[in-house]
């Protein structure tokens, strides 16, 4: 015997097909059945309207709740996350590009600085060389001048000395002549004689 047979037979003639064999009216509606035989509960049509109604109510509410509240929320969470991930990836790519650009700029600047340094070095070298050359030339010129002066002074000294030699020779000659010959000899004659001998 099942729980609702009496109730169903009284109130729902539409479902009588399944209950024709049961003895109704002996059980109260809320009594838990004791016998194992009777209608197998899952196949008891008397419970169908109630189960279908409550299924419709509960599942309908569940569907509406999920559709209106839960799913937009979960979908939103997942969407926000995927947006955030793409955004972060984009930013990472951007930052990497910036870093690459910075490295390239640094390397270019380094290369420029190197060439510039080389140029400066070269220039300094050249300038130093030029300066050294001018200084050298100046010194050489000064030395040449001094050499010339020295040579001139040597020449004049030599000329003087030679002149002195002539005088000495004339003096000596006049002295020799005086001692040998006695008497005075004209100065001009002796000079002429010395000059011819010196030649």
């Amino acid at each position: 015997m099942f729980v609702t047979s009496a109730f169903a037979q009284e109130s729902a003639p539409a479902t009588e097909g399944a209950h024709t064999g049961t003895e109704g009216g002996t059980h109260s509606a809320t009594e838990v059945p004791a016998e194992a035989h009777g209608t197998f509960p899952p196949f008891d049509p008397a419970t169908f309207p109630s189960q279908l109604l409550w299924l419709a109510i509960t599942f309908g509410l569940f569907y509406l709740f999920l559709k209106k509240v839960v799913m937009p929320r979960v979908g939103g969470i997942i969407e926000v996350r995927s947006d955030r991930i793409t955004q972060d990836l984009d930013q990472a790519a951007k930052l990497k590009g910036e870093a690459d650009a910075a490295v390239a700029a640094y390397e270019q600047e380094l290369a420029e600085a190197k060439t510039k340094a080389n140029a400066i070095g070269q220039q300094a070298n050249d300038a130093t060389k030029a300066e050294a050359e001018t200084v050298r030339k100046k010194i050489e010129a000064a030395l040449d001048k001094k050499l010339g002066e020295a040579e001139a002074s040597i020449a004049s000294i030599k000329a003087n000395a030679m002149k002195e030699v002539g005088t000495i020779a004339e003096d000596t000659a006049s002295a020799i002549v005086e001692a040998l010959v006695g008497g005075k000899t004209g100065k001009a004659e002796i000079a002429a004689a010395v000059k011819s001998v010196a030649r």
């Binding site: 109730f7 809320t30 419970t47 189960q51 509960t58 599942f59 509410l61 979960v74 926000v80």
Partner: protein, 252 residues
Amino acid sequence: MAADKVDPIHQFHIVKLIPINIGGYDLSFTNSALFMVATVAIASAFLYLSTSSRSLIPGRLQSVSEMAYEFVANMLRDAAGTQGMKFFPFVFSLFMFVLVANLLGLFPYFFTITSHIIVTFGLAALVIGTVIVYGFMKHGMGFLKLFVPKGVPILMMVLVVPIEVISFVSRPVSLSVRLFANMLAGHITLKVFSGFVVSLSALGALGVAGSILPLAMAVALTALELLVALLQAYVFAVLTCMYLNDALHPSH
């Protein structure tokens, strides 16, 4: 009565909690209705509360909700394409409802709503009803192409079309009976083995020793039933997706 305790069918009895009778129909609030409410309340509360923080980096519970969401979303997208996503709330509700109802039924003394054919049939009829209504709304008479596979010779049509029609008509039956029978059989088996434990224990020391075997069986069956509960919810959702695909793309 002692017999009550080991009666494997006892767990499926509907008990009226609040008798309601409208227009000659018995619409009482029963233990079945109570567990439908509990299923919906638990599933809703879990999904709502676990996602309430909306963390960018999900916690464990939020991960579970998100995984269920994405699992069903992928299932539906694979079976019915992106057009099928308009049914996503429906499929997700079905999956969560069946899953939570099955899992809730595993607790001792709890009522398993999916072990009643009318509940699973109600859900299956909802699925097939959606397929038929949407199919005719979207394709009109073109929906009938579902029963006429392409590239079949005219002569063969005589044979093929009735087969297709029969297979379509049997869908709500197979969909509902599969879930119902799995849950029913599993719970009866569990109850039978648990009943052995109780009956044997009542026989004294030897009986208690002998009851270890059915107890081990009951433990193993509980694990199996957990698997079945998850698997049947998945199967129900997958088949729903495939049927919805027919509504979207009737010509094979």
